[in-house]
């Protein structure tokens, strides 16, 4: 390879290939719109049939649970929370990457986010939907779950206990769900208008017409749109940090050894981003292949996400080490027992070491460019990371609870078939929502990709000129 000049190197660095093959605006519109416009493929029905069947299992399990009682799960005394809260935190964590990509990366002007943000935001919403099931049904009397909200009602006749982290959790998660949905929807409006304009059937015209809220693409529209999008991004940014911080308070505010830890908020946030990005990688690797948008969701996107996984995975590993250090340094015998005996060598050691290998060891492979740009490898690692993050929540919840202060009360948790099928069923719900999303909505933010393209082209133009100047040549026009 010829030696690169300084200017060429600049260009290489400044214009990572966020699209490949230099697509035109029309190409982008076509590529994204066509997914929702072609005749429904047989495979889509098959996917829908499978995912709704699995969702059906979820429905059956929830009905059985509500009809019979929490006893159908494996929860017991001392392990009052088992897979229910584990899965809740797992799903909430998955959601985080979406908000991070759409809000924080937007504010930091990370252009590479544009191709994946829509998908990631959808994932956030669907994951929050899955997560939201658990707090509602894990209570002993689900028909009274609404008592957790400060709704005036004739039964409770009093305020909730605002000292309880569980109540903070209710507010945090419901706020998060609301803002995420708004943010996602506002971003969708210009693209929905595109769909409306391209729609050939009456039904679609009406549906997309209503959903696009009369978007005409006027300069005023764009101005208002950009402003509201910015405000919502600003609102979402603290939520990325606050939601999982408050979820971690459920544990950190308690007095249980293994839960009572001040490191939990940053540790939980890092873990959430870690697992969320892994989930985006898993889904993206599949989606870009199925819907043939490899030129829009490029290896650069995937590689960037893998770098985030590496960074957050290392933070999580550091947090694990810190917990051990604190347990040892504090000299607290209960704390030391939880980490050095109960987790490392106790009955749940298998879960603990699964967590360590999945979360701490597996992302370290991403130090190597070859591995972090290998599709099969990153696909496997992203799944391994999510398994590891599920174990992290399980380890925190179950191992801390099963052996606490008084050895006479120690127990063990084993999931029942209802636990397992309910969790399985939430994946069905998650996938079902995705299957609908990919069929009826723009899976890539068309307007944002276009905006990013325009910007890139100008930069490219400028750089080409610079390169030409340095080589003493006339600039070559870039095909528009």
């Amino acid at each position: 390879m010829a030696e690169l000049t300084h200017a060429q190197e600049m260009k290489e660095r400044l214009t990572p290939s966020l699209t490949t093959g230099h697509p035109t605006y029309h190409d982008v519109t076509e590529a994204v719109s066509i997914i929702a416009e072609v005749k429904t493929h047989r495979n889509w029905y098959i996917a829908l049939a499978i995912s709704t069947s699995i969702t059906g299992i979820l429905g059956l399990m929830l009905a059985y649970l509500v009809a019979t009682g929490v006893g159908v799960w494996g929860n017991n005394s001392p392990v009052g929370w088992g897979w229910d809260i584990t899965n809740f935190v797992f799903w909430i964590g998955i959601g985080h990457a979406g908000t991070l990509i759409s809000a924080i990366l937007f504010l930091f002007r990370q252009k590479w986010r544009t191709s994946i943000n829509r998908f990631a935001e959808a994932m956030t919403l669907f994951a929050v939907a899955c997560a939201g099931i658990y707090p509602a049904v894990h209570v002993g009397r689900p028909w009274r779950a609404y008592w957790l909200f400060p709704i005036p009602n004739e039964f409770l006749n009093m305020w909730q206990n605002f000292r309880s982290p569980l109540l903070w959790d209710v507010f945090a998660v419901s706020t998060y769900a609301t803002v995420s949905a708004l943010f996602w929807y506002v971003g969708l409006i210009p693209d929905l208008a595109t769909f409306r304009d391209r729609a050939k059937t009456k039904g679609k015209q009406i549906a997309y017409g209503i959903a696009s809220l009369g978007w005409r693409g006027s300069a005023t529209h764009w101005k208002n749109y950009e402003k509201s999008y910015m405000i919502l991004a600003g609102l979402s940014t603290p939520l990325v940090l606050s939601v999982h911080t408050i979820v971690s308070f459920d544990f950190a505010v308690s007095i249980l050894p293994g839960w009572h830890t001040t490191i939990f908020p940053p540790y939980f946030v890092a873990g959430a981003i870690f697992s969320g990005f892994a989930m985006v990688v898993t889904l993206m690797v599949i989606a870009r292949w199925i819907y043939k948008v490899e030129h829009l969701v490029t290896m650069t996107h995937l590689e960037n996400m893998n770098k985030v996984i590496l960074a957050t995975g290392t933070i999580v590993g550091y947090a694990y080490a810190t917990e051990f250090f604190t347990a040892w340094y504090s000299g607290n015998p209960y704390e030391s027992y939880v980490f050095f005996v109960s987790r490392a060598t106790g009955p749940y050691a298998w879960a603990y070491w699964s967590m360590i290998s999945c979360n701490v060891i597996s992302p370290q492979f991403f130090w190597f460019k070859k591995l972090r740009t290998s599709l099969p490898f990153m696909f496997v690692i992203s799944i391994v990371v999510n398994i590891g993050m599920w174990f992290e929540r399980f380890v925190i919840i179950a191992t801390s609870l099963h052996r606490d202060y008084l050895p006479a009360s120690w127990g063990y948790f084993r999931p029942s078939f209802v636990d397992i099928l309910t969790f399985f069923g939430t994946f069905g719900l998650f996938i079902t929502l995705f299957v609908f999303f990919t069929r009826f909505l723009p899976i890539i933010a068309i307007s944002e990709v276009k905006g990013m393209m325009a910007q890139t082209h100008h930069e490219e133009h400028f750089l080409d000129e610079a390169v030409a100047a340095s080589e003493g040549k006339q600039p070559v026009g870039v095909a528009h």
Binding site: G69, V70, G71, W159, P407, A408
Partner: protein
């Protein structure tokens, strides 16, 4: 029953929904009356909670029966208030439960005519306010839907009239008539037996129960030439030696033993010179710290504690236990020696020789050190010690023990004797022989279950079948009831008149609290009928026997006791030569492996096997529920290559085959540290075949190998059986992990460092950023639990279950860790695996002032009362379980399923109306019996008592259920702001400490550290 209004009877326009309704056919009537379609209620699985629920499942017929029981004319509102009855208030009646040849004096709470709660009678000399687990749980037997309800002839429903006709055909002179009863400790029944003997001179009366202390009386026959029963005064005893005798077990003949014994577990005030034991001075340097975590003493600031003013306490006693199984007595013991059952005999002989009671050479060389130390200690406490032996030991041991007590000068001091009756041990064997030879025309079995629990070699079931006429009176159609030609339903003691003599001879009237729920009769009524040919009234029989005038009768009923009926002390002189002769003739017993037979702590001889409270009460040592096991030491288990594979909260236990004299039984193994080697303890009372739904298929039947030659113990062959058996327990972890949970120290250390328990909990002064609630005013409830007194007997657990409507969840749910007991008895082992010590710690809600559960409940369902209670608002609870997760003591219980859902209408009658029945999805826990506090409060208010700083309540006016029943007086509850109250004084005790104090939760329940007083020479 619900009457379906037929369409034809209506006036006005007729609307009908189906042709069936229009025609109002009987089929339609039937269809409407049936709530569920046929077979819908039959879906059950084997060993599960459902099985229990099934028991509680409403049976429509039964509901109908209970409704029919009340005569219509009585269902009238009171036109005038009945004296003493205030609607909604409970009444208390004194009665007594005949049991184990003795009696438990009881006071029973009755609500709207239903007996609901059983407590001990404070006036009764044996009970003194306490009640055992079995007595308390017996109220559930009254409402057992599986009770025997009707007369059965050859298994088919019959009537009392038909039975009367058959009974009239018995030979007038009693030729071939045999009566087999349980132990006769009712004066009325004894009187009737006398009358029967004169009316039917050829009839014979035999008494049998599986567990008696006949060997004790036999022993006194050898020693004194008379049937004498020792009465112990533990209050006077500085040294107690228990030889294979779990005398702290509540189901013994006297609860008073536990009362008196625990009174002597309190150490003398520390400032007083340590002089109560000759050996105490040595103990200062000889006794080791009981637990490794007791660090270097650094208690100079606590050095001299002030002596308790004006209290002359004789100080703490010392208990030696020589036993094979690890029993409650062994747990309490200061020095414990594990011996095979047959070796106990030699040990006693050697001890007697060392004390000079008998002459001869010592046999057990290896126990030399023990014998010498024990003999020295006993000699030093002449007249102030008690040696006592258990009924598994042969008569000769009891004879020697009598001689030892005499030699030590204990007789007349700590041990006195009363007259008793000697029962020929071989009587049942003779009866079986007569039955087999066809000499018995009619066999009348009054209570009991001999077909199930008679020695196996008698093949008693087959023998009964040979009698042309066999009649069984029993509370359930048990193994005997099924074989007998006639089964007669027996009244529960709470529904029939009777009387009973307790251990010391005091007579109580068994006063019924309710009309018989079903057409049942009592034993005295049956015998009365055999005598008179017409049905007598139990009341009249008992009253006639008592020979009391109306005032005396009323007083006896009120007090629950006939004053002055305690047996007179008899002076017995043990004959040394006769005892020595018996010792020399004592047969050599035992083998390489010995099996000993224990009555189960919960089911006794099996008569309580259908009682769900007792089935779910954990065995005190193994903590097993819903099963019995073959218990052995870790070493023996290793030798036999049997093991237990722990699983979740249960375990898969290896099964073994126990073979004695050709009889075999298969049993799962439980490995109990501290059990004697080469010995297997079998718990009897399980494995019942003919029983109600609760007890069916639970455990194995140890009576299936119990020979008549070895009722206590026998040598056996043990072989490994293929397969394992799943058992569940309520506690799986048995070590304290070096944590200062049960604080324990030798007495010598306590005398030097009385604050040793507080040192463990010392930490930096914690402060709050917020203004903390002021608890210095008004009533502030608190509790102090003396770990030194607690025997771990479970009676508080049953008291709590009965008082607070705590559901039973069944084996499967306990296996999942969902038992509901509000108070549990944590049992920890300390020391080495083969020969450990054990400690108990009653654990219920600690009512923390800084309750961690309260701050995390999102709906404020658990909140603090101004009186320091951690209240539960059940109807506000949505069931997040966060509170339970955040409870460091893990005492909160969650209704994972609807455990009350299918409770039988009959069983519902046992519920305490003062306590909410919790639905599923709701958290519950101990609340210091808040209903009792409120009751007392209302009473104080109604009486207009002034509310001072100490509150308007008299000390001891009301007690929590656990405190009330505790025979050891280990639990003390009261107002900690009242300087007069016992609890506030105990909280000032040196030994008082707060568990997990370092968490700053400020528990209102505190513990008094455990002490042991080991003999320094045995250290």
């Amino acid at each position: 029953m619900i009457q379906i209004q037929g369409i034809g009877n209506q006036t006005g326009k007729k609307f009908w929904r189906s042709l069936d309704e229009l025609s109002n056919s009987p089929k339609f009537q039937n269809w409407v009356a049936q709530e569920f379609p046929e077979g819908a209620a039959d879906v059950m699985d084997g060993k599960s909670r459902r099985k229990f629920l099934q028991v509680m499942a409403a049976s429509m017929g039964l509901a109908g029966l209970t409704a029919c029981r009340r005569p219509v004319e009585k269902i009238l509102p009171y036109a005038k208030s009945v004296e003493g009855v205030v609607m909604g208030n409970s009444l208390h009646f004194a009665t007594a439960m005949p049991f184990n040849g003795g009696a438990q004096g009881l006071v029973v709470e009755s609500f709207d005519g239903r007996p609901i709660k059983i407590e001990g009678n404070t006036n009764h000399p044996e009970s003194r306010g306490a009640a055992g687990t079995l007595a308390q749980a017996s109220v559930l037997n009254l409402y057992d839907p599986d009770r025997s309800k009707e007369v059965l002839a050859d298994g088919k429903p019959s009537t009392w009239d038909s039975f009367s006709k058959v009974a009239a055909t018995l030979p007038a002179d009693g030729e071939g008539v045999r009566v087999l009863s349980t132990l006769v400790n009712s004066p009325t029944l004894a009187g009737l037996r006398g009358q029967l003997a004169s009316k039917m001179p050829k009839a014979k009366w035999v008494e049998y129960e599986a567990f008696t202390d006949d060997t004790l009386i036999e022993g006194s026959q050898i020693a004194f030439g008379d049937a004498l029963r020792p009465q112990f005064d533990f209050k006077k005893a500085n040294v107690v030696v228990a030889l294979d005798f779990d005398f702290l077990e509540l189901e013994n003949r006297s609860l008073g033993w536990v009362k008196d014994f625990s009174a002597r577990r309190k150490p003398a005030p520390v400032a007083a010179p340590a002089s109560h034991h000759g050996a105490a001075a040595d103990a200062h340097h000889a006794a080791p710290a009981a637990e490794a975590h007791h660090g270097a003493p650094a208690a100079t600031e606590h050095a001299a504690a002030p002596p308790a003013a004006g209290e002359a306490t004789p100080g703490m006693n010392r208990l030696y236990a020589i036993e094979s199984n690890f029993t409650l007595t062994g747990v309490m013991a200061d020095n414990r020696l594990r011996l095979k059952p047959s070796d106990v005999q030699n040990f006693v002989f050697d001890l007697a020789r060392a004390l000079g009671a008998i002459t001869g050479l010592q046999i057990l060389g290896q126990q030399d050190r023990w014998i010498k130390a024990l003999a020295k200690d006993l000699q030093a406490n002449r007249g102030k010690s008690i040696v006592l032996a258990g009924s598994r030991q042969p008569a000769v041991v009891h004879a020697v023990v009598a001689l030892i007590n005499q030699t030590l000068g204990n007789a007349g001091e700590t041990v006195t004797y009363t007259k008793d009756v000697r029962r020929p041990v071989a009587a049942l064997k003779e009866l079986a022989g007569e039955l087999n030879s066809g000499g018995v025309k009619a066999l009348v079995i009054l209570g009991g279950n001999p077909v199930y629990d008679a020695p196996v070699d008698l093949a008693f079931g087959d023998a009964v079948k040979k009698a042309p006429l066999s009649i069984h009176l029993g509370p359930e159609v048990n193994e005997t009831g099924v074989i007998a030609k006639w089964h007669l339903p027996e009244s529960h003691y709470l529904e029939a008149w009777g009387d009973v003599a307790s251990n010391d001879g005091s007579i109580s009237i068994v006063q019924p609290l309710i009309e018989p729920l079903f057409a049942t009769k009592s034993a005295i009524e049956i015998v009365g009928f055999l005598l008179a040919g017409k049905w007598p009234k139990g009341f009249e029989l008992v009253k006639a026997q008592s020979k009391l005038d109306e005032a005396g009768w009323r007083k006896a009923l009120h007090d629950g006791l006939l004053a002055g009926t305690a047996g007179a002390s008899v002076k017995g002189a043990a004959d040394k030569t006769k005892v020595e002769a018996a010792v020399n003739n004592a047969p050599k017993t035992g083998g390489r492996i010995e099996v000993q037979f224990f009555p189960s702590h919960n089911l006794w001889d099996g008569r309580f096997a259908n009682n769900a409270w007792l089935q779910e009460a954990p065995d005190p040592m193994s903590k097993l529920v819903w099963d019995n096991a073959a218990v052995m030491s870790p070493k023996t288990a290793k030798e036999l290559q049997v093991e237990i594979i722990p699983d979740d909260v249960g375990m898969y236990a290896q099964k073994i085959i126990v073979e004695i004299g050709g009889q075999k039984v298969e049993a799962p193994v439980y490995v109990l540290p501290g059990h004697a080697d080469n010995t297997v303890t079998l718990m009897c009372g399980y494995g019942r075949k003919e029983i109600g739904r609760v007890g069916r298929g639970i455990g194995y039947n140890a009576f299936a190998v119990r020979p008549s030659t070895g009722l206590g113990f026998a040598s056996a062959n043990i072989t490994k059986a293929p397969g394992t058996y799943y058992m569940v327990s309520t506690q799986e972890h048995h070590s304290q992990e070096g944590r200062p949970i049960v604080q324990e120290a030798p007495l010598a250390k306590y005398e030097k460092e009385p604050h040793f328990a507080k040192e463990e909990e010392e930490h930096v002064e914690l402060f709050s950023l917020f203004q903390e609630h002021d608890y210095s005013k008004g009533n502030q409830w608190g509790m102090a639990i003396d770990l030194n007194a607690c025997t771990g007997c479970n009676s508080c657990l049953i008291a709590c279950q009965s008082e607070n409507n705590i559901p039973v969840v069944g084996k499967e749910q306990v296996g999942k860790g969902r038992e509901m007991h509000w108070i549990r008895l944590d049992r920890y082992f300390t020391g080495d695996e083969e020969d450990p010590q054990a400690v108990y710690q009653p654990m219920a809600c600690q009512q923390c002032e800084n309750a961690p559960c309260e701050s995390v409940c999102p709906v404020a369902a658990t909140v603090h009362s101004p009186e320091g209670l951690n209240d539960m608002a059940y109807n506000r609870c949505v069931g997040t379980r966060y509170c339970a997760n955040n409870c460091p003591y893990k005492v909160r219980r969650f209704n994972y399923l609807n455990f009350h859902k299918d409770m039988d209408e009959l069983t519902k009658m046992v519920q305490n109306p003062d306590v909410t029945v919790r639905m599923r999805g709701v958290m519950e826990k101990c609340n210091y019996c808040v209903q009792r506090i409120q009751e007392a409060k209302i009473k104080a208010k109604a009486e207009g008592r002034a509310s001072g700083a100490a509150g308007p309540y008299k000390v001891g006016e009301f007690m929590t259920a656990c405190q009330q029943t505790c025979a050891a007086d280990a639990i003390v509850f009261g107002n900690i702001n009242d300087p007069e109250s016992k609890v506030s004084q105990l909280k000032k005790d040196h030994r008082n400490y707060a568990l997990l104090h370092e968490l700053n939760v400020k528990p209102r329940t505190t513990y008094l550290a455990k002490l042991r007083n080991p003999n320094p020479e045995l250290a």
